[in-house]
């Protein structure tokens, strides 16, 4: 085919998958509706709903008082990230969203099919004529806006989840009054994650805080105006509360310009006048945020705004307005509880090495002596309670200055806006307690720059991130050491109940140790962390740094959460929502709702439900399997030709130049496994249909296990049947094996030129067969996904369309590389564009990330 023709075919196939995904979403929504109807008819709650969790817990013997304690502890926080594997443009997403909405309209308005199809044709024409792949790498602030794009969905869905929890509790225990306070919130890394991302500066972070605040305030203003149109009750019919009228009088005295805003509203409509006052103050707050203007009447905090809403609510309740509160006002109060004035808490992330460099420079400026401290002395200094002195920050090098400026910005943020807008400060590649104490020292120093009293130092959560196999193994001893350091204990105690968040990374640990070993080490690390936290009387939140895709910790929500050690959950679920799956989970309110209710359902059940400890011989078996898998995996990745194989048998080079995210994809020259970022690593293996990060090592481990003298399949089958951790491990591997295709992978392998590459291919191909066999024998099935019909059908329907895209990509890679090898010129830009298109198409075709947290698969596996 000529390039022009090939381009058209690849575009067509890419669009085919986008439309297939839209069609499957329609199916999913229809299925949810049918299940809703069936549940209503039968009087029993829908599976994996909030209500079903409450009913199940009640059946297990949980009483109302205990349930209230779990509701008090419940804290769900999805954290949005912008990792560079979202291949689709926002404009394309918007068009697809519109097509989805048109289809939904068509389902309900059959008489208007013709005009809807005309609109669909127009949208498809726009889609065909637009660039499906971004021409340039997006700036960070575009990614921030992309995260904010989901506000409208969340605004609809959040109150619904609160209402469902309240209703479920009331239905289960009608005599008991439950207090349901804030249990759902959102976080974000977009604009805050600077690890390996030189474009995320303190200025970008400042703009991000502003952008997020604007989103929240604009949402509240719109809500306020809706409410103003609804609350037209008159004092002639029902006398409003004197407290409200007093507040209005007081406000008019304090802000005389308010009078003009109130004058068009009848003096008998106190509620509307009160809402006008809220509108005035919210608008003033928005001006402060947007323009930095000093505006009288602006709210100091979301808490102050909540107090006004509470006044309104109390007045309505006292005046027979319970229904009005429940239907109209309470959803808004829930939105304020969830989004405050910050919309999402922004996390900051930076690498431990960067902090150490900054510390050396800061301490050198703080000390008058000429000789710098050696690392041991530095370690001793930061573990003491000595007050850090001020520094001349201008003297820091550029990188350290950036770290310090960010911390200064955070001190301002805490002082001006309180505790909600900052999620935490994450230290990637944490290897020791010193890594955390280093950040604490820098935080104290930043505070000391503008504040003399350290007693008021805000307790910014400092969050160690453990992401290699070694660090996961050491995580609990590092936490133990940290929690034993007096200066750190005092820091945590400032809030009363001490609380520590620890993050565990699924992507890097899987790249480091292979699938099975990472699964097991992550599981054990969380159990040990929970034990250490308990010993120190510290509340623990485990923050799960999962990817959306298989091989990065992806998998259905309920399955993933219910496979966790229950003592490490304890009602708290903080988890990343990676960039590549945001649209799939949060574009449609019904799917977003399903996703959130599954997370809440599973978190409640794993926290408060009955649990069974794994048998001793299962633990022994897992140790054996993990060690065997680790050896096999390391043998592969340490093979002398492995990096060459990865370089040539996947489109990694093209992915690294793909302008799909603002963050550079590459750390530098690839000379070892550690030079590869985990996200493009998984993405590249997925594109070339190997998908080996999600299964490699499993087959050999299982084979070795059953070949030992005293073992057989019955142990593994019992583990699969009764242990959620092992079940999730096998089910996710099965899904990856079903999506992989060794014949297509073999064609990619043919792109390699190193003679030893064939050994790498042989290892992969034989391990694939072993792993496939292992899964089938453990599950006692004869084909993959035999017990998940709909998914098997989906894979079967899609593969015939993905294969030509893969074959096109292979041919294009061959042409690009032969150009590179015969001349020193850059690859032809047309070929590069076509490869990029094929990457986007394959990603859509393999439902990259779709069969993940919100898929109906979880109901198949968990019941």
């Amino acid at each position: 085919m000529k390039p022009k023709e090939l381009r058209a075919v690849i575009r067509w196939l890419s669009l085919f998958f986008d439309l297939a995904n839209v069609a499957e979403d329609q199916q999913r929504i229809e299925t949810l509706r049918e299940r809703d109807d069936a549940a209503k008819a039968s009087g029993s709650p829908r599976r994996e709903s909030i209500s079903s969790a409450i009913v199940e817990l009640q059946q297990q013997g949980v009483d109302a008082a205990e349930m209230q304690r779990w509701v008090d502890r419940l804290r769900i926080e999805p954290v949005f990230t912008a990792h560079p594997s979202e291949a689709k443009r926002r404009t394309t997403r918007q068009l697809l969203r519109r097509i989805r909405e048109l289809l939904a309209g068509r389902a309900f308005a059959t008489s208007d099919v013709e005009s809807i199809e005309s609109e669909l044709l127009a949208d498809l024409t726009v889609l065909w004529q637009s660039d499906l792949v971004r021409p340039d790498r997006p700036p960070v602030m575009s990614e921030v806006s992309r995260g904010v794009y989901f506000v409208s969905t969340l605004w609809d869905v959040v109150p619904q989840t609160y209402r469902e929890l309240r209703t479920a509790l009331k239905t289960a225990w009608p005599q008991h009054h439950f207090e349901v306070l804030r249990f759902l919130s959102f976080g974000t890394w977009i604009g805050g994650d600077r690890d390996g991302h030189p474009f995320v500066t303190s200025e970008i972070t400042r703009l991000t805080f502003t952008r997020l605040r604007r989103a929240a305030l604009e949402g509240h203003l719109a809500e306020c105006r809706r409410m103003h149109n609804r609350m037209v009750m008159s004092d002639q019919q029902v006398v409003s509360d004197q407290v409200l009228r007093d507040r209005l009088d007081d406000s008019e005295k304090r802000w005389p310009e308010l009078t003009d805003r109130l004058s068009p509203v009848s003096s008998l409509e106190t509620y509307r006048r009160f809402l006008r006052m809220l509108d005035f103050r919210l608008s003033r707050t928005l001006s402060v945020v947007a323009y930095g203007a000093n505006q009288s009447g602006a709210y100091d905090s979301a808490e102050e705004f909540s107090e006004d809403l509470a006044l309104l609510s109390d007045s309505l309740l006292e005046n027979r307005g319970r229904r009005i509160v429940e239907q109209f006002l309470q959803p808004w109060i829930d939105l304020v509880d969830t989004f405050g004035f910050h919309f999402a808490s922004l996390d900051i992330r930076q690498n431990s090495e960067v902090h150490h460099q900054c510390l050396r420079e800061v301490v050198a400026l703080q000390r008058s002596e000429d000789s710098p401290l050696v690392d041991k002395e530095l370690g001793e200094l930061i573990a003491t309670g000595t007050s850090p002195g001020k520094i001349d920050a201008q003297k820091l090098t550029e990188g350290s200055r950036e770290v310090f400026d960010t911390l200064l910005l955070l001190t301002e943020e805490y002082v001006t806006w309180g505790t909600q807008s900052v999620g935490g400060y994450i230290i990637s590649m944490t290897h020791s307690a010193t890594d955390v104490l280093t950040v604490l020292w820098l935080w104290r120093t930043a505070w000391a720059q503008n504040h003399d009293d350290e007693q008021h130092l805000p307790v910014m959560p400092i969050i160690p991130l453990f992401e290699t196999i070694d660090d996961l193994r050491n995580a609990s001893s590092i936490l133990n050491e940290l929690l034993s350091v007096p200066v750190y204990r005092r820091y945590l105690s400032k809030l009363g109940q001490r609380h520590q968040t620890v993050m565990v990374g699924y992507s890097d640990s899987t790249k480091d140790g292979g699938y099975l070993t990472a699964c097991w080490e992550l599981h054990q690390a969380q159990e040990r962390l929970a034990d250490v936290a308990e010993q120190h009387h510290v509340e623990l939140t485990v923050f799960h740094g999962r990817g959306g895709s298989l091989g990065r910790g992806g998998g259905p929500a309920a399955r993933a959460i219910r496979s966790l050690p229950n003592k490490a959950v304890g009602g708290r679920m903080r988890v990343t929502e990676q960039g590549e799956v945001l649209s799939e989970r949060y574009d449609d309110p019904r799917i977003a709702h399903r996703h959130l209710e599954q997370i809440i359902n599973a978190t409640l059940l794993v926290s408060a439900g009955a649990s069974r400890s794994p048998e001793a011989d299962w633990l022994k078996a897992m140790d054996f399997l993990s060690q065997a898998s680790f050896r096999k995996y390391r043998e592969l990745v340490e093979h002398s030709a492995f990096l060459h194989y990865f370089d040539r048998a996947t489109p990694i080079s093209e992915i690294e130049t793909l302008p799909i995210g603002s963050r550079p994809s590459r750390r530098g020259q690839r000379t070892s496994l550690s030079d590869l970022r985990a996200i493009p690593w998984t993405f590249a293996w997925t594109q070339s249909r190997h998908i080996l990060p999600a299964w490699f090592g499993l087959g050999t481990a299982v084979r070795n296990f059953v070949d030992t003298d005293d073992s057989d399949w019955s142990t593994l089958r019992a583990m699969y049947a009764e242990w959620p951790m092992f079940r999730a491990l096998i089910d996710n591997a099965e899904l990856a094996l079903a999506k992989a295709d060794m014949q297509i992978a073999r064609s990619y392998a043919a792109l390699t030129s190193d003679p030893s590459s064939d050994e790498v291919w042989q290892q992969i191909a034989s391990e694939f067969e072993r792993s496939r066999g292992a899964v089938l024998l453990i599950k006692e099935n004869t084909e993959l996904l035999a017990d998940v019909d709909w998914l098997k059908t989906s894979v079967m329907n899609r593969n015939p369309y993905v294969d030509p895209l893969n074959l096109s990509q292979i041919e294009l890679l061959r042409q690009i590389r032969s150009n590179q090898e015969t001349s020193d010129t850059l690859p032809d830009s047309e070929l590069t564009n076509l490869v990029r298109l094929s990457i986007q198409g394959i990603a859509a075709g393999l439902l990259f990330g779709r069969v993940s947290w919100n898929s109906p698969i979880s109901s198949q596996f968990n019941h």
Partner: protein, 62 residues
């Protein structure tokens, strides 16, 4: 899970897309895409989940 609605919706959307493709790039290319679609449907009907990826008819498209 009943796949009928998804299949019906997708078929209709692809029919509409084919109309657009005919307008935008002409009959010849649109026919190529129809051919891919037909092949895929045939394979879907005749083959299990694991595909024969080196089918010569697919290769001939490139």
């Amino acid at each position: 899970m009943n796949a009928t609605l998804a299949d019906r919706t997708l078929d209709r959307l692809i029919d509409l897309l084919d109309l657009v493709v005919r307008e935008q790039v002409g009959e010849s290319l649109a026919n190529t895409m129809q051919r891919i679609r037909r092949l895929a449907v045939e394979r879907r009907a005749g083959l299990p989940v694991r595909m024969q990826s080196h089918d010569s008819s697919m290769n001939s498209l490139i």
